[in-house]
């Protein structure tokens, strides 16, 4: 890449600090001409920042690498995303990127069940959370605050044998909601709650370090956020931005994600230690565009059931 893209690239990412640094460093190794400036924060904070910047008339980011596709859909609907028609999406499963080429999944962060190893019951199905053993001891992230939880809810509602009734039964069984996944992990690890609906990598990492938690992929399947990446149409350096996306979607980029402890989105790339092979994991299907449309209603339903 002697005469590859050059210039400054501003990346807003919700990746963890260390992961974001690795990713950027790896990209820069391949594209020495590009200088990447990145801002790391939670998806909500990043979106607040971006919203305010848009309202002030000057969005700063070129690239957005955030937790979920629903948010991307909303930006797409507002016509704020640039279409990258010839992105290298060969080999990717359909549904993990926008057919119009505005956003692309970079990994799979699934939502399953974590439990405290001291718990009397080892769950294997979502329905196990409705058992008496789980009464009052389950915690899940609130879709009102967490993007992953919102997608999980959208996916669960599409499942015929779960649906909204599942949430109602969870409520009846004393399940509570928390703001984010970090809090769920702490609740379960500390034994304050025994079961938690949570993204995969947190408990799997902690379990490896010896924490009294374990993670299961329930047999009905898991929902997944795909940590999609997209280019804002106000980007001042679309060439470099496209190069960044190309890097993330490349085999090399996917192997990096796996090394960081995430399930790669590209089938065929080896999963990280502690994860089952991708083929053993079934994903509950959902439609991001529909999720966006139903978002308000879902949140209202959730708030009606769980408050907060």
């Amino acid at each position: 890449a002697t005469d590859g893209p050059a210039g400054k690239l501003v990346l807003y990412t919700s990746q963890l600090e260390a992961d974001a640094k690795q990713t950027v460093d790896a990209f820069k190794a391949k594209n020495p001409g590009v200088e990447v400036e990145w801002v790391r924060s939670g998806t909500t904070e990043l979106m607040n920042k971006l919203r305010a910047e848009i309202a002030a008339g000057s969005p700063q980011a070129d690239l957005l690498l955030i937790a979920d596709a629903v948010t991307m859909e909303s930006l797409k609907a507002e016509k704020r995303l640039l279409a990258y028609k010839d992105a290298p999406v060969q080999g990717y499963r359909p549904g993990t990127h926008d057919p119009d080429g505005t956003w692309f999944a970079t990994k799979l962060i699934t939502t399953g069940i974590a439990y405290n190893t001291a718990a009397p019951m080892k769950p294997s199905s979502w329905l196990d959370l409705l058992k008496p053993e789980a009464k009052g001891t389950t915690v899940m992230p609130s879709p009102l605050y967490s993007g992953a939880a919102a997608i999980h809810m959208a996916a669960v509602k599409e499942q015929p044998d779960l649906g909204m009734a599942f949430y109602e039964k969870l409520q009846a069984n004393g399940t509570t909601a928390a703001k984010g996944n970090g809090g769920i992990l702490k609740s379960v690890a500390s034994g304050e709650k025994l079961y938690g609906v949570i993204v995969d990598y947190l408990p799997i990492r902690e379990q490896a370090k010896g924490a009294p938690v374990a993670f299961v992929f329930p047999k009905e399947g898991v929902s997944a956020v795909t940590e999609p990446v997209a280019i804002l149409n106000t980007s001042k350096n679309p060439d470099a931005a496209k190069a960044f996306i190309a890097f993330l979607l490349s085999k090399e980029g996917q192997e990096l994600a796996s090394r960081q402890g995430f399930l790669p989105a590209l089938p065929g790339v080896a999963p990280p230690a502690g994860f089952p092979d991708t083929s053993f994991i079934s994903l509950m299907p959902y439609d991001p565009a529909k999720a966006l449309k139903d978002d308000e209603a879902n949140k209202k339903d959730f708030a009606d059931l769980f408050g907060g």
Binding site: G136, L144, K179, G210, G308
Partner: protein, 575 residues
Amino acid sequence: MSLATLNDRRPFRAAGRFSVSGAPLLFALAGLIVLLPILRLVWEVAGPMAGGDLTALTRVLTSKMTWRATGNSVAIAAGATVVAAALGVPFALLCGLTDLRGKTALAFCLILPLMIPAQIVALSWIHLAGSGSPLLKPLGLAPAPGTPNPVYSSAGMILVMGIEHAPLVFLALRAALRAVPRDLVEAAQAAGARRGRVLRTIVLPLSLPGLAAGLALSFVAALGNFGVPALLGIPAGIPVLPTLIYRRLAGFGPSVLPEVAVLAVLIGAIACVGIAAQMALQARVDARVIGGSAPAAVLRLGRARRPLEILCWTVVALILAAPLAALASTSLIRVYGLPLGPETATLAHYATVLGLDQVGRAFTNSFVLSGVAALLLVLLAIPLAHAMAGPGKGGRLVRAVGVLIELPHAVPGVVLAIGCILVFLKPLPLLGVSLYGTLGIILAAYLARFLSLALRPAQAACAALDPAMEEAARACGAGPLRRLRTIVAPLVAPAAAAGGVLVFLTAFNELTVSILLWSQGRETLGVVVYALEEGGSPTLAAALSVVTIAVVVTVLLAVGWLGRRLPAGIIPWRG
């Protein structure tokens, strides 16, 4: 002071403070510039309304959730204020009025919760009360695994916020108690009144204005608190206005900003009601002390002293040491969730945390930000407070600005941060540079947010300033700015500096504003702790929190040590 002086003072207060009436206008303008971010948000509501567009307003005001959250907010803030009073009032009485030993240390410990970020305090309480409690578990007192943590409730929020804001009541009331002259108390004793009666009929009525100020501060602070309801209220399904705002922000769509602004203005309005109630109460009570400047009153505790001392330190241990210990033990556990014991303890998290290069940066940034903010605010507070004490139109205008400064203090930090982005993203007019992405924008936000902390003490000092001080300077030929620089500023400096110390300590751990405004390399301590916590590294977050608290305490002790020779009143916890 003779009667003649008293007579002279009152009427002449109103006379001839400024010959150049432009000066107060100038300072009012400076105040308004600092308040720009919040005014920009108010405009977000008022602008469309002026244009006849009421959609955001009606959408928010017709939502049931808005009113549910408002009800919760008011109830919880009121409850927290009651708890703060229940803690702050007895401690203020004991520290301000009696011969209790170790008052300075006690006051220091009581002020600490104010300096520790809300989310850390809330986390400590979750640790402490949960089934995994590192303290209660070994004692067999922890709730059984799987039973709900009792702090996830309205009561929990009220308790934690009450403890957090007790220092505000404590500080305000103790200052008022110090102003109760000894002879008023002794006159009551000579009239045959025992301690309890003296307290009830003389001391408390006289310090009511100070108490009211403390309660109002505590109420406003509880209203705008996000950290505690986020951690304790959401799991309990209890929405309050700040979490509702956060939730709106987490939603999508361009309608978010106006709606958030409406909610922020709603919080501001409730806060103003609180402040107005305080003012009404103060106006109704005439507690202006007449006559001599006798030393402050002291009540002898006699035989009750020892038991009271034990009780005080027990309470302090409960509200401060216990959660801190929980936090410390979390920071020492090899893996979160394991019981703390010799084989699970490690210092590795401290090594890890201190090795992170963003931690070093964050310490530097937070230090610079809070230091500069404290300094600038002290410099602004003095002329502003002075102008507010002045007469006429200029004074009235500045006083109006003085009410507005409560706003950025009362709204959740994230709202203020959005206001800052709206105002400072574009390059500044004339200068052509943008503050965005620099420490400058965080500084601007801090200036707006903490102006009221810096201004209030300076304002009290200016109001108490003998006008003859300035008149003497005028008779010596000194113009307004020279007088401000050479006479007023040095005289109110101790009070202003006390405000500065509070600003520094509060800003040092600030999270909710900087979380939106930081950028790579410009993270604050609060942001780094939060990132670790969110990233699923509670042990690292706990370690960094412990380091932060250690630094805060060190700074406090250093300030106290350096301030030994400073005039009374600068060091907040000093007697």
